[in-house]
Protein backbone atom coordinates (compact mmCIF):
# COMPACT_ATOMS: atom_id res chain seq x y z
CA UNK A 1 0.00 0.00 0.00
CA UNK A 2 1.87 3.08 -1.24
CA UNK A 3 0.81 6.40 0.17
CA UNK A 4 2.22 9.79 -0.75
CA UNK A 5 3.92 10.90 2.42
CA UNK A 6 3.77 14.50 1.28
CA UNK A 7 0.21 14.65 2.60
CA UNK A 8 1.65 13.88 6.00
CA UNK A 9 4.15 16.68 5.59
CA UNK A 10 1.38 19.16 4.78
CA UNK A 11 -0.58 18.02 7.81
CA UNK A 12 2.43 18.68 10.07
CA UNK A 13 3.01 22.14 8.58
CA UNK A 14 -0.62 23.04 9.21
CA UNK A 15 -0.61 21.59 12.71
CA UNK A 16 2.31 23.83 13.58
CA UNK A 17 1.40 26.92 11.61
CA UNK A 18 -2.28 27.37 12.49
CA UNK A 19 -1.83 27.54 16.29
CA UNK A 20 1.07 29.95 15.81
CA UNK A 21 -1.17 32.26 13.81
CA UNK A 22 -4.30 31.70 15.91
CA UNK A 23 -3.34 30.75 19.49
CA UNK A 24 -5.75 28.63 21.55
CA UNK A 25 -3.94 28.99 24.91
CA UNK A 26 -4.23 25.41 26.17
CA UNK A 27 -3.67 25.23 29.93
CA UNK A 28 -0.29 23.92 31.08
CA UNK A 29 -0.20 21.57 34.09
CA UNK A 30 2.87 21.44 36.30
CA UNK A 31 4.68 18.11 36.67
CA UNK A 32 6.52 17.06 39.81
CA UNK A 33 9.90 17.06 38.06
CA UNK A 34 9.57 20.67 37.02
CA UNK A 35 8.34 21.73 40.42
CA UNK A 36 11.34 20.01 42.00
CA UNK A 37 13.70 22.11 39.88
CA UNK A 38 11.74 25.26 40.73
CA UNK A 39 11.86 24.50 44.45
CA UNK A 40 15.56 23.75 44.24
CA UNK A 41 16.30 27.17 42.78
CA UNK A 42 13.70 28.94 44.92
CA UNK A 43 15.76 28.36 48.08
CA UNK A 44 18.75 30.22 46.63
CA UNK A 45 19.29 33.90 47.37
CA UNK A 46 21.75 36.72 46.84
CA UNK A 47 24.42 34.82 48.75
CA UNK A 48 24.25 31.91 46.31
CA UNK A 49 26.34 31.42 43.20
CA UNK A 50 25.27 29.16 40.36
CA UNK A 51 27.19 27.96 37.35
CA UNK A 52 25.18 27.86 34.15
CA UNK A 53 26.82 25.82 31.44
CA UNK A 54 25.63 26.15 27.85
CA UNK A 55 26.34 22.63 26.65
CA UNK A 56 24.50 22.62 23.36
CA UNK A 57 24.90 23.34 19.68
CA UNK A 58 23.27 25.99 17.56
CA UNK A 59 20.83 23.63 15.86
CA UNK A 60 18.80 22.92 18.99
CA UNK A 61 18.43 26.57 19.96
CA UNK A 62 14.63 26.75 19.48
CA UNK A 63 14.26 24.15 22.20
CA UNK A 64 17.09 25.07 24.49
CA UNK A 65 16.69 28.83 24.60
CA UNK A 66 13.29 28.90 26.37
CA UNK A 67 14.66 26.47 28.95
CA UNK A 68 17.71 28.59 29.65
CA UNK A 69 15.68 31.80 29.75
CA UNK A 70 13.12 30.42 32.19
CA UNK A 71 15.75 29.21 34.65
CA UNK A 72 17.83 32.38 34.32
CA UNK A 73 14.77 34.55 34.89
CA UNK A 74 14.16 32.72 38.12
CA UNK A 75 17.76 33.10 39.22
CA UNK A 76 17.83 36.82 38.49
CA UNK A 77 14.48 37.33 40.20
CA UNK A 78 16.02 35.83 43.31
CA UNK A 79 19.23 37.87 42.91
CA UNK A 80 21.31 34.71 42.58
CA UNK A 81 24.83 35.37 41.32
CA UNK A 82 25.20 33.68 37.95
CA UNK A 83 28.37 32.48 36.27
CA UNK A 84 27.92 31.41 32.64
CA UNK A 85 30.21 29.29 30.51
CA UNK A 86 30.12 27.03 27.46
CA UNK A 87 31.61 23.62 26.83
CA UNK A 88 30.59 23.40 23.17
CA UNK A 89 32.15 25.91 20.79
CA UNK A 90 28.82 26.42 19.06
CA UNK A 91 27.04 27.29 22.29
CA UNK A 92 29.50 30.03 23.24
CA UNK A 93 28.06 33.09 21.51
CA UNK A 94 24.51 31.87 22.13
CA UNK A 95 25.07 31.55 25.86
CA UNK A 96 26.52 35.04 25.98
CA UNK A 97 23.50 36.48 24.19
CA UNK A 98 20.93 34.69 26.35
CA UNK A 99 22.67 35.66 29.57
CA UNK A 100 22.95 39.32 28.56
CA UNK A 101 19.35 39.47 27.34
CA UNK A 102 17.83 38.14 30.53
CA UNK A 103 20.20 40.11 32.74
CA UNK A 104 19.26 43.35 30.96
CA UNK A 105 15.58 42.69 31.70
CA UNK A 106 16.35 42.64 35.43
CA UNK A 107 18.87 45.48 35.39
CA UNK A 108 21.71 43.20 36.44
CA UNK A 109 25.29 44.44 36.39
CA UNK A 110 27.95 42.50 34.51
CA UNK A 111 30.75 41.47 36.80
CA UNK A 112 28.71 42.00 39.95
CA UNK A 113 25.50 40.04 39.42
CA UNK A 114 26.61 37.84 36.55
CA UNK A 115 29.61 37.01 34.46
CA UNK A 116 30.34 34.97 31.34
CA UNK A 117 33.53 32.95 31.27
CA UNK A 118 33.32 31.79 27.66
CA UNK A 119 34.34 28.49 26.11
CA UNK A 120 36.89 25.83 26.95
CA UNK A 121 37.49 22.78 24.72
CA UNK A 122 38.07 19.28 26.16
CA UNK A 123 35.04 19.30 28.40
CA UNK A 124 36.05 16.47 30.70
CA UNK A 125 39.33 18.21 31.47
CA UNK A 126 37.54 21.53 31.93
CA UNK A 127 34.96 20.08 34.33
CA UNK A 128 37.65 18.30 36.33
CA UNK A 129 39.85 21.39 36.34
CA UNK A 130 37.13 23.57 37.80
CA UNK A 131 36.95 21.19 40.74
CA UNK A 132 40.44 22.32 41.68
CA UNK A 133 40.27 25.91 40.52
CA UNK A 134 37.83 27.69 38.24
CA UNK A 135 40.39 30.43 37.82
CA UNK A 136 42.87 27.84 36.54
CA UNK A 137 40.49 26.83 33.75
CA UNK A 138 39.30 30.35 32.98
CA UNK A 139 42.10 32.82 33.74
CA UNK A 140 39.94 35.52 32.13
CA UNK A 141 36.29 35.92 31.17
CA UNK A 142 34.79 36.00 27.67
CA UNK A 143 35.79 39.66 27.25
CA UNK A 144 39.34 38.95 28.45
CA UNK A 145 38.85 40.66 31.81
CA UNK A 146 41.17 38.90 34.26
CA UNK A 147 39.39 36.56 36.68
CA UNK A 148 40.80 38.33 39.73
CA UNK A 149 39.45 41.73 38.77
CA UNK A 150 35.84 40.55 38.53
CA UNK A 151 34.07 41.36 41.84
CA UNK A 152 31.54 38.50 41.57
CA UNK A 153 34.31 35.94 41.34
CA UNK A 154 36.38 37.17 44.26
CA UNK A 155 35.04 34.50 46.61
CA UNK A 156 34.64 31.77 44.03
CA UNK A 157 37.49 29.27 43.97
CA UNK A 158 36.02 25.93 42.92
CA UNK A 159 32.88 23.79 43.27
CA UNK A 160 32.93 24.39 47.04
CA UNK A 161 31.69 27.90 46.35
CA UNK A 162 29.11 26.94 43.75
CA UNK A 163 25.64 26.13 45.06
CA UNK A 164 24.34 24.60 41.90
CA UNK A 165 25.46 23.72 38.39
CA UNK A 166 22.81 24.00 35.70
CA UNK A 167 23.73 22.25 32.50
CA UNK A 168 21.65 23.40 29.54
CA UNK A 169 22.19 20.56 27.12
CA UNK A 170 21.01 18.86 23.96
CA UNK A 171 23.38 15.92 24.20
CA UNK A 172 25.49 13.86 26.55
CA UNK A 173 27.34 16.65 28.37
CA UNK A 174 25.42 16.25 31.66
CA UNK A 175 26.93 12.76 31.84
CA UNK A 176 30.34 14.39 32.18
CA UNK A 177 29.07 16.79 34.81
CA UNK A 178 27.77 13.79 36.73
CA UNK A 179 30.86 11.67 36.27
CA UNK A 180 33.37 14.38 37.11
CA UNK A 181 31.76 17.21 39.06
CA UNK A 182 29.16 15.20 40.95
CA UNK A 183 30.94 11.89 41.48
CA UNK A 184 34.30 13.38 42.33
CA UNK A 185 33.46 16.71 43.98
CA UNK A 186 29.89 16.16 45.18
CA UNK A 187 28.64 19.12 43.16
CA UNK A 188 24.84 19.44 42.95
CA UNK A 189 23.62 19.39 39.37
CA UNK A 190 20.44 20.28 37.56
CA UNK A 191 19.97 19.45 33.90
CA UNK A 192 17.82 21.54 31.59
CA UNK A 193 17.52 19.24 28.62
CA UNK A 194 16.21 19.03 25.13
CA UNK A 195 13.30 16.59 25.32
CA UNK A 196 15.17 14.02 23.29
CA UNK A 197 17.59 13.52 26.17
CA UNK A 198 15.01 13.17 28.95
CA UNK A 199 14.71 9.39 28.94
CA UNK A 200 18.49 9.20 28.91
CA UNK A 201 18.75 11.07 32.21
CA UNK A 202 15.85 9.79 34.27
CA UNK A 203 18.10 6.97 35.60
CA UNK A 204 20.50 9.59 36.93
CA UNK A 205 17.71 11.37 38.80
CA UNK A 206 16.60 8.02 40.10
CA UNK A 207 20.10 7.26 41.35
CA UNK A 208 20.38 10.70 42.94
CA UNK A 209 23.21 11.82 40.69
CA UNK A 210 21.18 14.69 39.26
CA UNK A 211 19.09 16.90 41.55
CA UNK A 212 16.49 17.90 39.03
CA UNK A 213 15.55 17.61 35.42
CA UNK A 214 13.78 20.16 33.28
CA UNK A 215 12.78 18.65 29.97
CA UNK A 216 11.97 20.16 26.62
CA UNK A 217 9.64 22.92 25.58
CA UNK A 218 6.93 21.54 27.87
CA UNK A 219 9.26 21.79 30.84
CA UNK A 220 10.05 25.37 29.88
CA UNK A 221 6.36 26.20 29.57
CA UNK A 222 5.68 24.74 33.01
CA UNK A 223 8.52 26.78 34.44
CA UNK A 224 7.16 29.93 32.83
CA UNK A 225 3.85 29.19 34.48
CA UNK A 226 5.48 28.70 37.88
CA UNK A 227 7.22 32.04 37.41
CA UNK A 228 3.91 33.59 36.37
CA UNK A 229 5.56 34.88 33.20
CA UNK A 230 4.35 33.14 30.07
CA UNK A 231 6.89 33.53 27.26
CA UNK A 232 8.17 31.71 24.18
CA UNK A 233 7.58 28.17 25.43
CA UNK A 234 4.00 28.86 26.50
CA UNK A 235 3.32 30.53 23.18
CA UNK A 236 4.60 27.48 21.31
CA UNK A 237 2.79 24.92 23.44
CA UNK A 238 -0.37 25.04 21.29
CA UNK A 239 1.56 24.17 18.15
CA UNK A 240 3.42 21.50 20.05
CA UNK A 241 0.18 19.94 21.31
CA UNK A 242 -1.52 19.99 17.95
CA UNK A 243 1.50 18.46 16.21
CA UNK A 244 1.66 15.69 18.79
CA UNK A 245 -2.02 15.07 18.36
CA UNK A 246 -1.62 14.88 14.59
CA UNK A 247 1.16 12.33 14.90
CA UNK A 248 -0.90 10.27 17.34
CA UNK A 249 -3.80 10.38 14.90
CA UNK A 250 -1.44 9.31 12.09
CA UNK A 251 -0.34 6.30 14.12
CA UNK A 252 -3.97 5.32 14.71
CA UNK A 253 -5.02 5.87 11.08
CA UNK A 254 -1.99 3.95 9.85
CA UNK A 255 -3.06 1.02 11.99
CA UNK A 256 -6.69 1.16 10.94
CA UNK A 257 -5.74 1.17 7.28
CA UNK A 258 -3.27 -1.68 7.76
CA UNK A 259 -5.89 -3.64 9.66
CA UNK A 260 -8.50 -3.06 6.96
CA UNK A 261 -6.05 -4.09 4.23
CA UNK A 262 -5.14 -7.26 6.13
CA UNK A 263 -8.76 -8.16 6.61
CA UNK A 264 -9.53 -7.39 3.00
CA UNK A 265 -6.73 -9.70 1.94
CA UNK A 266 -7.94 -12.48 4.21
CA UNK A 267 -11.47 -12.20 2.85
CA UNK A 268 -10.37 -12.36 -0.78
CA UNK A 269 -8.11 -15.31 0.02
CA UNK A 270 -10.96 -17.12 1.72
CA UNK A 271 -13.18 -16.32 -1.25
CA UNK A 272 -10.63 -17.89 -3.58
CA UNK A 273 -10.30 -21.09 -1.58
Amino acid sequence: MKFDRRFIFILIVLAVMIPLLFPIDLPVAITDETRAVYDRINVLDSNSVILMSFDHEASSLPEVRPLAEAVLTHCFQRDVKTVGLALFAEGTAIGYDILNDVAARYGKMYGIDYVYLGYRPQYSAAILGMGESIRGVFPADYDDTPYDSIPLLSGVRNYDDIDLVISVADGSLPTYWVEYAQARYGQKIIAALAAVMVTAYTPYVDAGQIDGLLGGLKGAAEYEKLLGQPAAATRRMDAQSLAHLSIAVLIVIGNIIAFAVRRGKRITEEGRS
Binding site: R5, F9, L26, P62, T202, I247
Partner: protein
Protein backbone atom coordinates in the same frame (compact mmCIF):
# COMPACT_ATOMS: atom_id res chain seq x y z
CA UNK B 1 56.90 -3.97 8.68
CA UNK B 2 53.86 -1.82 7.94
CA UNK B 3 51.67 -4.90 8.31
CA UNK B 4 52.68 -5.92 11.81
CA UNK B 5 53.74 -2.69 13.47
CA UNK B 6 50.31 -1.01 13.48
CA UNK B 7 48.95 -3.96 15.47
CA UNK B 8 51.75 -3.57 17.96
CA UNK B 9 51.24 0.19 18.20
CA UNK B 10 47.53 -0.40 18.71
CA UNK B 11 48.17 -2.93 21.49
CA UNK B 12 50.68 -0.69 23.27
CA UNK B 13 48.42 2.37 23.12
CA UNK B 14 45.45 0.32 24.25
CA UNK B 15 47.14 -1.28 27.24
CA UNK B 16 48.62 2.04 28.27
CA UNK B 17 45.28 3.80 28.12
CA UNK B 18 43.68 1.14 30.28
CA UNK B 19 46.53 1.23 32.76
CA UNK B 20 46.64 5.00 33.13
CA UNK B 21 43.03 4.98 34.30
CA UNK B 22 44.11 3.31 37.51
CA UNK B 23 47.29 5.24 38.13
CA UNK B 24 47.55 8.68 39.64
CA UNK B 25 51.32 9.09 39.30
CA UNK B 26 52.21 12.39 37.67
CA UNK B 27 54.37 11.07 34.76
CA UNK B 28 51.61 8.68 33.71
CA UNK B 29 48.87 11.29 33.76
CA UNK B 30 51.18 13.64 31.85
CA UNK B 31 51.75 11.02 29.18
CA UNK B 32 48.01 10.39 29.09
CA UNK B 33 47.37 14.06 28.41
CA UNK B 34 50.03 14.06 25.70
CA UNK B 35 48.40 11.08 24.01
CA UNK B 36 45.09 12.97 24.01
CA UNK B 37 46.90 15.90 22.39
CA UNK B 38 48.45 13.62 19.78
CA UNK B 39 45.04 12.22 18.97
CA UNK B 40 43.72 15.72 18.35
CA UNK B 41 46.61 16.56 16.08
CA UNK B 42 46.37 13.31 14.16
CA UNK B 43 42.70 14.03 13.72
CA UNK B 44 43.31 17.51 12.35
CA UNK B 45 45.88 16.13 9.91
CA UNK B 46 43.39 13.51 8.78
CA UNK B 47 40.87 16.30 8.42
CA UNK B 48 43.28 18.20 6.19
CA UNK B 49 43.68 15.10 4.01
CA UNK B 50 39.91 14.73 3.91
CA UNK B 51 39.34 18.36 3.01
CA UNK B 52 42.00 18.34 0.30
CA UNK B 53 40.30 15.26 -1.15
CA UNK B 54 36.92 17.03 -1.00
CA UNK B 55 38.40 19.97 -2.91
CA UNK B 56 40.07 17.72 -5.49
CA UNK B 57 36.83 15.81 -5.99
CA UNK B 58 34.84 19.00 -6.49
CA UNK B 59 37.44 20.36 -8.92
CA UNK B 60 37.24 17.11 -10.88
CA UNK B 61 33.43 17.33 -10.94
CA UNK B 62 33.57 20.97 -11.99
CA UNK B 63 35.81 20.17 -14.91
CA UNK B 64 33.34 17.69 -16.37
CA UNK B 65 31.13 19.36 -18.96
CA UNK B 66 27.38 19.59 -18.42
CA UNK B 67 24.85 21.43 -16.29
CA UNK B 68 25.85 19.56 -13.15
CA UNK B 69 29.13 21.43 -12.95
CA UNK B 70 27.52 24.41 -11.25
CA UNK B 71 27.16 22.51 -7.96
CA UNK B 72 30.82 21.80 -7.20
CA UNK B 73 31.47 25.49 -7.81
CA UNK B 74 29.00 26.27 -5.04
CA UNK B 75 30.84 23.98 -2.63
CA UNK B 76 34.20 25.45 -3.60
CA UNK B 77 32.75 28.92 -3.13
CA UNK B 78 31.54 27.96 0.36
CA UNK B 79 34.92 26.59 1.39
CA UNK B 80 36.77 29.59 -0.03
CA UNK B 81 34.40 32.03 1.66
CA UNK B 82 34.89 30.55 5.12
CA UNK B 83 38.63 30.15 4.72
CA UNK B 84 39.15 33.71 3.48
CA UNK B 85 36.90 35.25 6.13
CA UNK B 86 38.25 33.05 8.90
CA UNK B 87 41.93 33.56 8.21
CA UNK B 88 41.52 37.13 6.97
CA UNK B 89 39.36 38.72 9.64
CA UNK B 90 39.51 36.21 12.48
CA UNK B 91 36.82 34.18 14.16
CA UNK B 92 36.04 36.44 17.12
CA UNK B 93 32.63 37.79 18.00
CA UNK B 94 31.42 40.30 15.42
CA UNK B 95 33.69 38.92 12.68
CA UNK B 96 32.30 38.32 9.17
CA UNK B 97 33.17 34.63 9.64
CA UNK B 98 30.68 34.39 12.48
CA UNK B 99 28.14 36.46 10.56
CA UNK B 100 28.15 33.85 7.82
CA UNK B 101 27.98 31.13 10.43
CA UNK B 102 25.01 32.78 12.19
CA UNK B 103 23.05 33.74 9.09
CA UNK B 104 23.84 30.93 6.68
CA UNK B 105 25.39 27.87 8.22
CA UNK B 106 23.55 27.67 11.54
CA UNK B 107 20.03 28.29 10.17
CA UNK B 108 20.60 25.81 7.35
CA UNK B 109 21.69 23.24 9.88
CA UNK B 110 18.65 23.91 12.05
CA UNK B 111 16.45 23.59 9.00
CA UNK B 112 17.92 20.23 8.04
CA UNK B 113 17.46 19.20 11.66
CA UNK B 114 13.82 20.29 11.62
CA UNK B 115 13.19 18.03 8.60
CA UNK B 116 13.03 15.44 11.34
CA UNK B 117 9.65 16.73 12.46
CA UNK B 118 8.28 15.59 9.11
CA UNK B 119 10.18 12.33 9.02
CA UNK B 120 9.06 11.51 12.54
CA UNK B 121 5.48 11.90 11.36
CA UNK B 122 5.84 9.73 8.29
CA UNK B 123 7.78 7.08 10.21
CA UNK B 124 5.04 7.09 12.84
CA UNK B 125 2.41 6.61 10.17
CA UNK B 126 4.02 3.65 8.47
CA UNK B 127 6.19 2.14 11.19
CA UNK B 128 3.86 1.58 14.13
CA UNK B 129 1.89 -1.52 13.33
CA UNK B 130 0.13 -2.97 16.36
CA UNK B 131 0.09 -6.64 15.46
CA UNK B 132 1.73 -8.64 18.19
CA UNK B 133 1.99 -8.00 21.91
CA UNK B 134 5.38 -6.29 21.51
CA UNK B 135 4.27 -3.88 18.87
CA UNK B 136 1.05 -3.06 20.72
CA UNK B 137 3.13 -2.11 23.76
CA UNK B 138 5.42 -0.03 21.56
CA UNK B 139 2.50 1.87 20.06
CA UNK B 140 0.81 2.41 23.42
CA UNK B 141 3.97 3.68 25.08
CA UNK B 142 4.57 6.09 22.23
CA UNK B 143 0.99 7.36 22.33
CA UNK B 144 1.05 7.81 26.10
CA UNK B 145 4.19 9.94 26.01
CA UNK B 146 3.12 11.82 22.88
CA UNK B 147 -0.15 12.92 24.40
CA UNK B 148 0.80 12.80 28.06
CA UNK B 149 3.61 15.28 27.89
CA UNK B 150 1.70 18.15 26.30
CA UNK B 151 -1.31 20.07 27.62
CA UNK B 152 -3.75 17.90 25.64
CA UNK B 153 -3.12 14.84 27.80
CA UNK B 154 -3.68 16.84 30.95
CA UNK B 155 -7.09 17.87 29.67
CA UNK B 156 -8.03 14.22 29.16
CA UNK B 157 -7.24 13.22 32.74
CA UNK B 158 -5.29 14.78 35.59
CA UNK B 159 -3.69 11.39 36.24
CA UNK B 160 -2.02 11.25 32.85
CA UNK B 161 1.19 13.03 33.94
CA UNK B 162 1.76 10.65 36.83
CA UNK B 163 1.20 7.60 34.62
CA UNK B 164 3.69 9.03 32.17
CA UNK B 165 6.08 9.70 35.01
CA UNK B 166 5.84 6.10 36.16
CA UNK B 167 6.37 4.68 32.67
CA UNK B 168 9.47 6.83 32.27
CA UNK B 169 10.87 6.14 35.71
CA UNK B 170 10.33 2.39 36.03
CA UNK B 171 9.89 0.10 33.01
CA UNK B 172 11.67 2.43 30.57
CA UNK B 173 14.61 2.83 32.92
CA UNK B 174 14.82 -0.93 33.48
CA UNK B 175 15.09 -1.63 29.76
CA UNK B 176 17.51 1.20 29.25
CA UNK B 177 19.78 -0.06 32.02
CA UNK B 178 19.85 -3.55 30.57
CA UNK B 179 20.52 -2.25 27.08
CA UNK B 180 23.35 -0.10 28.43
CA UNK B 181 24.82 -3.06 30.25
CA UNK B 182 24.70 -5.11 27.06
CA UNK B 183 26.30 -2.33 25.05
CA UNK B 184 28.95 -1.88 27.72
CA UNK B 185 29.85 -5.55 27.42
CA UNK B 186 29.79 -5.45 23.64
CA UNK B 187 32.02 -2.40 23.54
CA UNK B 188 34.42 -3.88 26.04
CA UNK B 189 34.63 -7.14 24.12
CA UNK B 190 35.21 -5.28 20.86
CA UNK B 191 37.83 -3.06 22.46
CA UNK B 192 39.63 -6.09 23.88
CA UNK B 193 39.55 -7.78 20.47
CA UNK B 194 40.95 -4.63 18.89
CA UNK B 195 43.75 -4.30 21.41
CA UNK B 196 44.58 -8.00 21.16
CA UNK B 197 44.83 -7.58 17.41
CA UNK B 198 41.95 -9.88 16.52
CA UNK B 199 39.73 -7.21 15.03
CA UNK B 200 41.71 -5.57 12.27
CA UNK B 201 39.10 -4.40 9.83
CA UNK B 202 40.42 -0.84 10.12
CA UNK B 203 43.74 -2.00 8.70
CA UNK B 204 42.03 -3.81 5.88
CA UNK B 205 42.42 -7.19 7.59
CA UNK B 206 40.03 -9.13 9.69
Amino acid sequence: MLKKSPILVCAVCGVFMITQYFITAEPVTDLYRSVLDWMQIIFVCALLVGIINVILRQVRMASRPGRERIYPFITLFGIALMVILGFGWGIARGSPFLWVFDNLQAPMQSTVFSLLAFYVASAAYRGFRARRAESIILVLAALIILLGRVPIGEIVSPHVPSVVGWVLAVPAVAAKRAILIGIGLGMTATAIKVIAGMERAYLGGR
